[in-house]
């Protein structure tokens, strides 16, 4: 049987999908059956110009005509939510951990370009704390592949037999913290507005507590974007950027930024990593 290709007319509302995912305790099929062979796409997506500017502002980028690679990830995010919200998807939304991200910007993409967005779920693997899988996104302009990205998620509620494959660990940069970021208490709500990721763990102390966090935590994808913005004008025109989210960042809070050649990290005041990354032009 071939892959089920689902074409949506417009991007679904990630907030609705997420609320539904958190409210309804859907009975999910067992992961041993694998992932449904399905991709979801939107053929002709028009980027929200004003939202792109607000996103840039929230993450520390200059407002330019060319968008950051992480913004293109944000464009594919509702499709990720849609895919995970299908009844035959084996993992429930609540309790998923975003482990790592790997994206490549093949050429500068302008905020006024029409995009074809595709997301597919693949690569289920046993993990020492559960099961991991990838959501693979691509962005095309016409027939040209302009961006691709892989988000690796961990479900701690599922189990698979077998040995967990050795995961590649990004190396920590050496050197001193060259930047100090002050993250305000409402940063999660600010980022939710521009990204559409309204996961309750990011929004308010009360909603965060339900999921076991003493305070809201900032979105990993904000930290990722902020780290790219930290490169300022020296960010190359095309690049591959990989990040691993190692520890949540509680709000409000202060974190440091360390960069050493291609290697970078967001660290706490003891220098312990919250995010480790690599940027290659």
């Amino acid at each position: 049987m071939g892959r089920d290709v689902k074409v949506l007319q417009t991007l679904p509302d990630a907030r609705q999908l997420m609320l539904k995912g958190f409210r309804t305790a859907m009975k999910r099929p067992d992961v041993s059956a694998g992932l449904p062979d399905r991709s979801v796409m939107v053929m002709d997506h028009r980027q929200d110009f004003a939202r792109a500017a607000e996103y840039a502002r929230a993450c520390g980028f200059t407002v330019r005509d060319d968008v950051p690679a992480t913004w293109l990830h944000v464009q594919t995010f509702p499709l990720q939510m849609w895919l995970m919200g299908q009844p035959d998807f084996p993992f429930s939304l609540a309790g998923l951990v975003h482990v790592s991200n790997d994206m490549t910007l093949h050429r500068p993409v302008r905020a006024d370009e029409r995009l074809r967005l595709t997301v597919v779920a693949e690569n289920v693997q046993p993990h020492k704390r559960g099961v991991t899988f990838d959501l693979q996104g691509t962005v095309h302009v016409g027939e040209e592949l302009v961006w691709e990205g892989t988000s690796n998620y961990l479900s701690t509620k599922a189990k698979l037999p077998g040995q967990a494959p050795e995961a590649e660990r990004l190396e920590m940069p050496s050197g001193e913290q060259s930047q100090l970021w002050r993250l305000p208490a409402d940063l999660g709500r600010q980022y939710a507005k521009v990204s559409g990721d309204w996961n309750p763990i990011h929004l308010h102390p009360l909603t965060a507590r339900i999921f076991g966090f003493p305070r809201p935590i900032i979105h990993g994808m904000w930290t990722h974007a902020r780290a790219l913005a930290a490169f300022g004008g020296s960010l190359p025109e095309r690049y591959r950027v990989q990040v691993q989210f190692t520890k949540p960042i509680l709000l409000p809070g202060k974190v440091g930024f360390v960069v050493d050649g291609e290697k970078f990290a967001v660290v706490d005041k003891e220098g312990k990593p919250k995010l480790v990354g690599r940027l290659a032009g």
Binding site: F49, T62, D112
Partner: protein
């Protein structure tokens, strides 16, 4: 050894009416966009320039290092130093004066000069009462002291103070001041509307013939200046209501500049460096002059300082108005230009040939993001003079708040 400062090119964003297409962009975003467009045009990615000088009239406190921040966000080398400079609407022209003087002194070889303004993203400040209370509370050592600091705050102090272009000493907006000038110099509604009409016609023609293709880089989906009305007519302009002045008012939204967002920069270089790099040597910066008027109690006019600066500049360079191929007089208001021309006649400087004035349009049609206007004018005039041939001279005149004015002579190489 003598050094010659030459204009090799320029780049600006299109200018957009405030509160519209660029409303989401800050002055810093706009300046970064203008610099990056220039960098792309002249292959300066990763290159160090000796200095970047620019400014903004509407400035947030966070913009204390606006130009340097824009450089760090741009594709220029982070080793390019920058300096903020401000002289109201003459900011952009002053930036060109500053950089060309450094080049002439041998302190710089390649520099970028310009300006940026966002009337959409203007700072809104708190009242003086609240500001003082907050500073006091910040110094307070205990909670009671802190509370006491706020006890002095009145309800009215809690209202934000919207931005306004008002002269601090006269309390008059620029339009109201100019209305006094318009009346004093007896500038007619018809003359103002005609000047405005010509500005739109000339700018539209310049756009249509592709004159701005290597002077402007599109930004946020805007390719052309959005204030421009190529299809406006004298009848339409005549039908507009007056907005400044009392009885006998003649100034309308059609013959006054609109609030605008945009940024413009100019690449200035030492002549031999420009030639080594095969950059087009459009025009050299010959000389410049600033002047100010005694406007506070009405002895002189707020926006007519160029009529003082021009004779000084001409005398020093032993030139007359007849020696110029082109004139670029910034159109703060149509009546500002017309009153300046009358003042130059009255003070014996001479007559400006109207057929040589603002031949590619000016601020009435292009819009006027305050600090960006100087960069727009210098780049456009340098290019036009370059086309007219070596030795052709142009005179730039820009009036500014505070009764100030800056003027400059460019000469094609």
């Amino acid at each position: 050894m003598t050094h010659t400062a030459v204009v090799v090119g320029g780049n600006r964003t299109p200018f957009a009416k405030a509160g519209t297409k660029f409303a989401d962009a800050s002055a810093q975003d706009l300046l970064t966009a203008a610099i990056d467009g220039l960098v792309a045009r002249f292959g300066l990615a990763g290159a160090k320039v000796d200095e970047v000088v620019a400014g903004a009239v509407l400035k947030h406190t966070r913009d204390f290092n606006l130009t340097r921040e824009a450089v760090l966000g741009s594709a220029l080398s982070p080793n390019s130093p920058a300096c903020d400079l401000q002289q109201a609407c003459a900011t952009g022209l002053e930036a060109v004066i500053y950089t060309s003087n450094k080049i002439r002194l041998g302190q710089a070889k390649v520099a970028i000069a310009g300006g940026t303004d966002s009337a959409s993203d203007a700072p809104v400040v708190v009242t003086e009462g609240l500001r003082r209370a907050m500073l006091k509370a910040n110094r307070a050592r205990s909670l009671p002291e802190r509370l006491k600091a706020f006890a002095a705050v009145r309800p009215a102090d809690l209202m934000p103070v919207p931005p306004a272009v008002v002269e601090p000493r006269t309390g008059l907006s620029m339009g109201e001041s100019q209305a006094l000038t318009t009346k004093r110099w007896e500038i007619s509604r018809e003359d103002q509307d005609q000047l405005s009409y010509d500005s739109h016609q000339n700018l539209a023609r310049a756009w249509d013939e592709g004159f701005f293709d290597d002077l402007v880089t599109g930004y946020r989906g805007v390719a052309r200046d959005t204030v421009l009305r190529p299809d406006t007519t004298l009848e339409k302009l005549a039908s507009l209501k007056t907005v400044f002045g009392r009885e006998g008012a003649t100034m309308t939204a059609g013959n006054s500049t609109a609030l605008t967002d945009g940024a413009a920069v100019v690449l200035v270089a030492e002549e031999s460096v420009a030639r080594e790099r095969n950059w087009p040597v459009l025009a050299k910066v010959v000389d410049a002059q600033v002047a100010a008027t005694d406007y506070v109690t009405g002895n002189e006019d707020l926006l007519l300082a160029p009529a003082r600066a021009i004779p000084e500049l001409l005398e020093r360079n032993q030139l007359t108005l007849d020696d110029f191929e082109l004139f670029e007089f910034h159109e703060a208001f149509a009546s500002t230009v017309l009153a300046t021309l009358k003042a130059l006649e009255q003070n014996g400087t001479g007559t400006v040939d109207r057929s040589k004035l603002n031949v590619d349009g000016s601020s009435l049609a292009a819009g006027h993001p305050f600090a960006a206007t100087g960069g727009r004018i210098v780049a456009s005039l340098a290019k036009r003079l370059g086309q007219r041939g070596p030795g052709k001279k142009g005179l730039i005149s820009i009036c500014a708040a505070g009764g100030q004015g800056a003027v400059m002579i460019l000469e094609a190489m």
